[in-house]
Symmetry: C2
DNA sequence: AAGTGGTCTAGACCACGGA
DNA sequence: CCGTGGTCTAGACCACTTA
């Protein structure tokens, strides 16, 4: 009854082929792709078709083009990880760069709600990164970051982790965050947060619950970020 | 010293020409555009160039293509206004449809911070729409929506306004919201909110401060939405 | 059957970056 | 200078909608 599965357009096949190379590590972040003509010849399609495939990858922030130089696999540079995936802005709209204050790395069985959110077995191990950070110089965030130990076997001795965690996932474990889904709500600062961040006592906090996906749509992280928004705000543009 | 202003690519000129037609009202929401070939002939470019221009308009949600039928100026359908520009989701991720409880329309001189945000003169008149709404059946939001009276001369007798305000701007005043910028923070429910929404007393609330732009990047609205996020959350996807 | 957008090709020329 | 991506064209054929 369902319509027969149409053959995918060529440009979509080219896109998939390139994503597979990135996911498998044969094309690494920062590396230059073969030229459009080279890819076209190799994959037996026209240059225009390769171009269209690359257009979709550019739109998804998976590759970057540089005229005269080539097309490069997107890197989680400090800049991108901090401003693209962490959208806190000061009053004037200028980006607020976070600075880590405390960091604690532990390994444990996944709590039920975390296992569900990560889509892993309840008894599976996760690494918990608990940290506090400043925004605009003031202590302002408390984060519980959970990653499946099977995918990202981070150890306590790996710390201190870099300011932009996603660059670490990529450089140390070959996993790129391609997409993240945030759910934002407001809560009263809970006790565990106040313990680490005394200035949050009695304050309303922004709670950002995130699930992050890699190139192949595997869930590689979930985090619960509690943010004091006295001087900053989470910025979003809708089109 | 600055580099000479390059001539804009043809497809960008086509894009601009089409946006102008939409902004001037010669192409109205829901209306079908001339076919790609017709536009190509009319504007003296190739069909491929028109196509590229349309691609950018599709990417910005300004037009929609329907294979076999044509390309249409995007409408603020109920669906789009409610789910695209209002991203509250229930626990399971299902969209939460708001229902208006109370609505009050007044006209006044713009408060200083509102005038600044709207980019209008301090003595200029604004229309204030103050309303409370439910989410998932429970009273949950309080909004102060300010629009410049010069652009959107809404009167108290125009009420009750439709559930999706942006459809009203479009159908009654010919203004389309093309883009909105939200800044999210957490606050304790202020007195003015509690007065209208007693269940917010003592609660942390999500405050969404929005500035909305039309096709020509004019600011046509700013709003301050206070949202109780006990059952819902503001959802965002980052790429 | 006619008309629309969707895909794909082949080839031209331009603009930029690096050797 | 050469190779890269960026723009633009002309034309073919496919897929979908409507009449």
């Amino acid at each position: 009854m369902t319509t027969a599965p149409r053959t995918e357009p060529l440009y979509a096949q080219v896109r998939t082929a390139l994503i597979e190379r990135m996911a498998s590590g044969s094309l690494r972040p920062g590396q230059v792709l073969p030229s459009e003509f080279a890819l076209a010849e190799e994959l037996n399609v026209s240059q225009g078709t390769v171009r269209k495939a690359l257009d979709t990858l550019v739109a998804d922030n998976l590759v970057q083009r540089r005229q005269g130089r080539g097309t490069f696999v997107a890197e989680h540079t400090q800049e991108r990880a901090l401003f693209h995936f962490f959208r806190m802005e000061g009053i004037g709209g200028m980006p607020a760069i976070p600075q880590t204050l405390t960091e604690e790395i532990t390994q444990r069985a996944a709590p039920a709600r975390i296992a569900t959110r990560l889509g892993i077995d309840k008894s599976a191990d996760v690494v918990l990164i608990r940290r506090t950070r400043t925004l605009l110089g003031k202590p302002a965030t408390f984060e519980d970051i959970y990653v499946p130990h099977a995918l990202l076997p981070i150890r306590a001795t790996d710390g201190p982790l870099p300011n932009a965690l996603y660059t670490h996932y990529q450089s140390a474990h070959g996993l790129s965050v391609a997409r993240a889904e945030d759910r934002l709500s407001a809560v009263q600062a809970p006790a565990k947060v106040v313990k680490a961040l005394p200035q949050a006592e009695g304050q309303a906090m922004l709670l950002a619950t995130r699930v992050a996906f890699d190139l192949t749509d595997r869930i590689i992280e979930t985090r619960e970020s509690y943010i004091l928004t006295t001087d900053t705000a989470y910025a979003v543009t809708l089109r």
